[in-house]
């Protein structure tokens, strides 16, 4: 399904006009396909050892209770059931929903808004802006976490700005606050992804046929109608990519939380990935950790499939 997102014609080669069916040629083709397998053997082997085998083992581990040292015991679906029964683990899914609002919805709205406001014309200086908008994408999350630790610090720029305008009562230790830590983390995600969404949508609108806009104008559509009738449908593919990437990023948040809050205060910013890390390596409940990993992978897959399906439906 990723191939359809980028529109790579998967069957480009097969649809080439078939050469004169000549036996010698066909056997040669068969031979090259075996040579092809020999070429692909090394990458496929590494991939199988590192990804496929552990993936199967994850599923296997998830049915056991194991502390990483002593013998393991079969517990069936118990580890999965704890997503429902364990309030802390269950709360991580709620946190993910909040994060999705900040990582996915807010950046996409911002991106669409700016794509709507911008004229679809080549802009001198656009390269510089694009460079800036993509900057958060190339910075390692550890550094981004430090950047915002500074912003949110008790005497950091955010609190000083609040004090400067007389809102002292609002100033607080943002990342140490039970209510505000999660939204504060979420806003970091917004900062990271909105530029990417913007660039994606701007490049998408420039690919929409100008005739569609002219037709809409002729029908007397205002800018708002034009946006909903032409721009939004035209950006369907880009929206699908942006949604898939940002929602899975929200679901998988680890670095940011680990560097800034360790999931705290209390468990107020605990995400599934942080819960997985704690369960796997700090007070080993290896089976539970594997189950969290399997659930996360399944959710990512379902999200990607659903979004792709919906975006391709007419």
């Amino acid at each position: 399904m990723p191939a359809t997102v980028t529109g790579t014609p998967a069957s480009a080669r097969e649809t080439r006009p078939a050469p004169a069916t000549d036996v010698r040629r066909r056997s040669m083709r068969r031979r090259t396909r075996w040579i092809g397998l020999a070429f692909a053997a090394l990458p496929l082997g590494v991939y199988a050892i590192v990804v496929l085998v552990p993936l199967a083992q994850s599923v296997q581990y998830s049915f056991y209770k194991w502390d990483g040292v002593s013998a393991s015991t079969w517990v069936g679906f118990d580890n999965y059931v704890s997503f429902v029964t364990d309030p802390v683990l269950r709360s991580t899914l709620g946190h993910v929903l909040v994060l999705i609002g900040f990582f996915a919805l807010l950046p996409i709205i911002l991106g669409l808004l700016s794509a709507a406001l911008l004229t679809r014309a080549k802009q001198p200086g656009m390269a510089v802006y694009r460079w800036i908008f993509f900057l958060p994408q190339v910075m390692t999350t550890v550094v981004i976490a430090l950047v915002f630790k500074r912003i949110y610090a008790p005497d950091g720029p955010l609190n000083e700005a609040l004090r400067a305008v007389g809102l002292d009562s609002l100033a607080r230790t943002w990342l140490g606050d039970f209510t505000w830590a999660l939204p504060a983390l979420g806003l970091i995600g917004t900062w990271v992804t909105f530029g990417f969404c913007m660039v994606l949508f701007i490049s998408g609108t420039s690919a929409i046929a100008p005739e569609l806009y002219e037709a809409a104008r002729m029908d007397g559509a205002g800018p708002v109608r034009e946006f909903f009738a032409v721009t939004l449908p035209g950006l369907r593919g880009q929206l699908a990519i942006a949604l898939t990437l940002t929602i899975t990023a929200a679901l998988r948040t680890f670095d940011l939380v680990w560097i800034t809050t360790h999931g705290g205060p209390g468990t107020s910013t605990l995400t599934p990935a942080v819960a997985l890390y704690k369960a796997a390596f700090q007070n080993p409940q290896v089976g539970l950790a594997a189950a969290i990993g399997v659930v996360m992978a399944a959710l990512c897959l379902v999200i990607a499939v659903v979004i792709t399906r919906v975006s391709e439906r007419d």
Partner: protein
């Protein structure tokens, strides 16, 4: 059709958005140069450039940056080799069973590290590969195979068929054809792959945190430890952050086009 008014609106919107991105980074850079522990901004003449040297020494970055560099260089080299082999096989030669194999490879782009990290760690531990550079390099390579194959396969397919056909008529073998013709022709795609692969490896935190400790710490993990110890010295923490971010940022400044087009095209990765 494109009035002055529209142009002004465009620049206003773009500039506001750009300022939102740049402001946090800007305050961070200012903090890194401040003589004040809390990172307060100061006049240009008072800027303290020593912060970088102090942070470099206190965080043990000489060692950690070297480790990161070794890992990144090995991963990039291995990645390109695996991607060339796999991409050429799936894109040009065809592979026995590719109707099954290729979807399995693509599936790998959707599988997150979290889904495999637990068994990976415990299996590698029994094999004595945890806390070793070859171990983590192998994992990076395996995780990178799906994107590598996807990327190079597309690049090889975009090459004109006629080149391959005439080389085939000349009796060139598959290895020679890949080495002397296909790979050189696909050079732009290879460069993009090198940059993206370097960035993903250098920026990794989770994998290094799980697999490497002590002397084998990567720069990102060392930075995490450093900032935990220097909570009150924001200026040093910021200086350390800039040091770790620098290699990728320098590449980004030099090759911004390749980065952006590669990341937009490869957005399906992750």
């Amino acid at each position: 059709m494109y009035s002055k008014m529209e142009r002004v609106v465009n620049y206003v919107v773009l500039t506001i958005m750009a300022a939102l991105v740049l402001f946090p980074v800007g305050t961070f850079v200012v903090s890194a140069l401040s003589p004040d522990r809390s990172g307060k901004p100061v006049a240009f003449s008072q800027l303290k450039w020593d912060n970088f040297a102090t942070a470099w020494q206190d965080a043990g970055f000489s060692r950690a940056m070297t480790v990161s560099l070794i890992i990144a260089v090995c991963v990039v080299a291995g990645q390109v080799l695996l991607a060339l082999l796999g991409g050429y096989a799936f894109g040009v030669l065809g592979v026995v069973g590719d109707k099954v194999l290729f979807p399995i490879v693509l599936l790998g782009m959707m599988i997150s590290l979290e889904a495999i990290i637990v068994p990976l760690y415990y299996q590698f531990r029994t094999m004595g590969l945890t806390n070793t550079l070859p171990g983590i390099i192998l994992i990076h390579l395996g995780m990178g195979v799906p994107f590598g194959i996807f990327w190079m396969r597309a690049a090889f397919r975009a090459l004109p068929r006629s080149a391959f056909e005439s080389a085939e008529l000349d009796g060139a073998g598959s290895v020679r054809m890949l080495r002397s013709m296909a790979a050189p022709m696909a050079r732009p795609a290879i460069y993009t792959l090198i940059l993206l692969s370097f960035m993903w490896t250098w920026n990794d935190y989770f994998l290094s945190l799980v697999f490497l400790h002590g002397a084998n710490q990567t720069a990102t993990v060392a930075l995490g430890v450093f900032q935990g110890k220097y909570v009150t010295q924001i200026n040093l923490m910021a200086a350390g952050g800039l040091i770790v971010a620098a290699p990728v940022l320098v590449l980004y400044v030099a090759f911004q086009r390749k980065f952006i087009s590669g990341m937009l095209a490869g957005a399906i990765k992750e």
